[in-house]
């Protein structure tokens, strides 16, 4: 997620850094050029102390998308907006965007609205194909969903007294399965 | 489970805390086991490594040994044998599980806990048992060595320090835990004063159960005013 691209504007000439911008063959990148930089680089180059580049808020977190979230967060495919939508959103806090408070509020309310549905689904879906449902979730939500499902199946196992059964360790089982497939 | 333990444990009184200078309390084996169980639950549900209960562990280990020896003396078709064996298995499970959880925590945040250990004054109790400390040091140095050999020594010299990478890892003390109150405790600060809200405090009463952020109540766990569940 720290590899996610962020739209940046070069403020100071970057000498001998032409390769960062694939659209030009120039040796240097002049101020004013727009670049897509990975987050880790943008973070290093845009801070209180040094302003080598300035950054823009990524689209998915801007006003228009925030409106969409407000309307009905449940129908949005978060995964498409970024597989790590929440985490990346939180990372963005380190840049001083004017609207950053709104972004964080929006993230919180989005999560709150969606969480209810995820929780509900994870506790009630048994032995069904969940891929359609989970394809809309960002990675964190997916992890949450998985935890929910696991607790559901664990509970059922407990109810039917199957937890007593000693099992082959997961890794060994996965390992053996793969070996069989290879053969 | 407890009733079983009581039964056989009561046969013998063992001295718990023999060595400790403060007060030599004599506890029955059942009481020691109750203490182990408490330590086990706390360890299991706390996000950080708690103080090592070295005496309890030693005491239980001794007890296991005694029981095993007694079992060998019994006749083969004695009904009691399987009950005692079962009990042994259960004690051993709790003990192993307790030590395993601790080991896991030590492995995950080795540098963090070693740091705490280094800054510890003589008055404070150590988080580690002596054996655990030895393991932690060995574990830490083995990883250091591994990373150095494979990567660090091939890097430019100014980058050749590891510290900020590994020790940055620390347990999440802000996570939420379930707890049961052992004794009344008033006005526990659970949220510090901020600009928006005032200080938030809670009065705990015995036998209440709460779900709460770990950080504000961690000192109550170590003083066993609370038990995590």
């Amino acid at each position: 997620m720290t590899q996610d691209k962020i739209q940046s504007r070069v403020e100071l000439t970057l000498y001998r850094m032409g390769f960062l911008d694939s659209s030009t063959d120039d040796k240097d990148i002049p101020p004013g050029s727009k670049l897509e930089l990975p987050f880790w680089l943008a973070y290093a180059l845009c801070s209180q102390k040094r302003r080598i580049v300035s950054v823009e808020l990524p689209k998915a977190y801007r006003e228009s998308y925030r409106e969409v979230m407000k309307a009905d967060a449940n129908v949005v495919n978060l995964y498409k907006l970024g597989p790590y939508y929440y985490n990346f959103g939180m990372k963005l806090q380190c840049f001083s965007f004017p609207e950053i408070d709104d972004v964080s509020k929006c993230l919180l309310s989005t999560f709150q609205t969606r969480f209810r549905k995820i929780m509900d689904a994870s506790q009630n879906i048994m032995n069904e194909d969940t891929s359609k449902l989970t394809s809309n979730l960002d990675e964190m939500e997916k992890a949450l969903f998985k935890v929910g499902q696991k607790s559901l199946t664990d509970f059922q196992l407990w109810e039917t007294r199957q937890v007593e059964k000693l099992k082959t360790s997961d890794m060994v089982r996965a390992h053996r399965k793969r070996k069989r497939e290879d053969e | 489970m407890n009733s079983l333990n009581q039964q056989s444990f009561n046969d013998s009184n063992v001295d718990y805390d023999e060595d400790s200078e403060e007060e030599a309390e004599a506890l029955t084996a059942a009481e020691v086991f109750a203490k182990l169980e408490e330590a086990w639950l706390n360890e299991k549900f706390s996000p950080e490594l708690l103080e090592a209960k070295t005496e309890i562990v030693e005491c239980i280990m001794d007890q296991i040994k005694v029981m095993e020896e007694n079992l060998l003396k019994c006749k083969k078709d004695d009904m009691k044998i399987c009950i005692h064996k079962m009990e042994l298995d259960r004690i051993r499970f709790v003990l192993s599980s307790y030590l395993r959880i601790r080991l896991q925590k030590i492995q995950n945040y080795t540098a963090y806990y070693l740091n705490i250990e280094n800054q510890r004054t003589d008055k404070q109790a150590s988080l580690f048992s002596p054996e655990e400390l030895k393991f932690a040091k060995e574990f830490h140095s083995s990883i250091d060595k591994h990373l150095t050999e494979l990567a660090m020594q091939h890097m430019p010299s100014i980058l050749q320090n590891l510290n900020d990478n590994l020790s940055g890892n620390k347990p999440d003390l802000d996570c939420y835990v379930f707890l049961r109150v052992n004794e009344d405790t008033d006005s526990v600060v659970i949220d510090e004063e901020t600009t928006e809200t005032g200080e938030e405090t809670v009065d705990f009463q015995k036998d209440e159960q709460h779900i709460i952020r770990y950080q504000p109540i961690r000192h109550l766990v170590s003083s066993s005013q609370l038990t995590l569940i």
Binding site: Q3, L12, T13, L14, Y15, R16, M17, L20, P38, W40, L41, A44, L45, R50, I52, R161, E164, L166, T168, S169, D170, M171, V172, A174, H175, R176, K177, R178 | M61, D62, I64, K65, C82, K85, M86, D89, R90, R92, F93, L95, S96, L99, R100, L103, E131, K134, F135, S142, I143, H146, L147, E149, L150, A151, H154, M155, P156, L159, L162, N165
Partner: protein, 194 residues
């Protein structure tokens, strides 16, 4: 792109699934180290140029420095995560790893595994007077004896009371739980519950 090789290592980690270890990517690691070296050399050059009076190179140095840090972080994460996986495997597979997994480990990883094995053994032996095998009793015991079914031919197995049992595929035995827990975890036996 800067540090893209290092990122590949990270992606490789996230692709891996339980019970397997991807081959130690020595190639990629060397390329990352090479990239770091040239970044560093370029920076040194720019710094000395700056000292010599040239201006405007500062931003480039910053970019490279960030890339160096990035590379280092990814590389260490890669190595450390692998150790964590290997460490977990010690608990799941036991002290001897399957050949195909060992095959994917580099020499240092194997020696680390052996060292880990040793320190674990030392620790476990030092608990109490007689030591305690922490890899046993992974689940709360429910009964003293359990019924198990052999999933593969394993050969002879000596029980605590000195009897020898032949573990052959599709035989079923009623044994002490503590005796066969390891074999169940290693997938030799299956616990049959009613």
């Amino acid at each position: 792109m800067l540090a893209s090789k290092a990122f590949e290592l990270i992606k490789e980690l996230s692709r891996g699934n339980s019970g397997s270890l991807s081959p130690y990517n020595e190639d990629c690691i060397r390329q990352v180290l090479d990239e770091m070296k040239s970044l560093y050399e370029q920076n040194q050059k720019d710094v000395s140029d700056t000292v010599a009076g040239e201006t405007g190179l500062f931003s480039g140095v910053q970019v490279r420095h960030a890339a160096l840090e990035r590379n280092k972080r990814c590389l260490l994460t890669y190595l450390y995560k692998r150790l964590q996986i290997i460490q977990e495997m010690r608990w799941e597979f036991g002290s001897v790893l399957p050949m195909d997994i060992r095959y994917n480990m580099c020499e240092q990883e194997i020696s680390w595994f052996n060292r880990y094995n040793k320190m674990l053994a030392v620790y476990m032996r030092s608990i109490g007077d007689s030591g305690l095998d922490l890899t046993q009793d992974m689940q709360p015991p429910k009964s003293l004896y359990i019924e198990v079914r052999c999933l593969k031919d394993h050969g002879e197995f000596e029980t605590q009371d000195g009897n020898i049992i032949v573990l052959k595929r599709n035989n079923q035995h009623f044994l002490l739980r503590s005796e066969c827990e390891h074999l169940i975890r290693q997938g030799v036996l299956e616990h049959v519950t009613n």
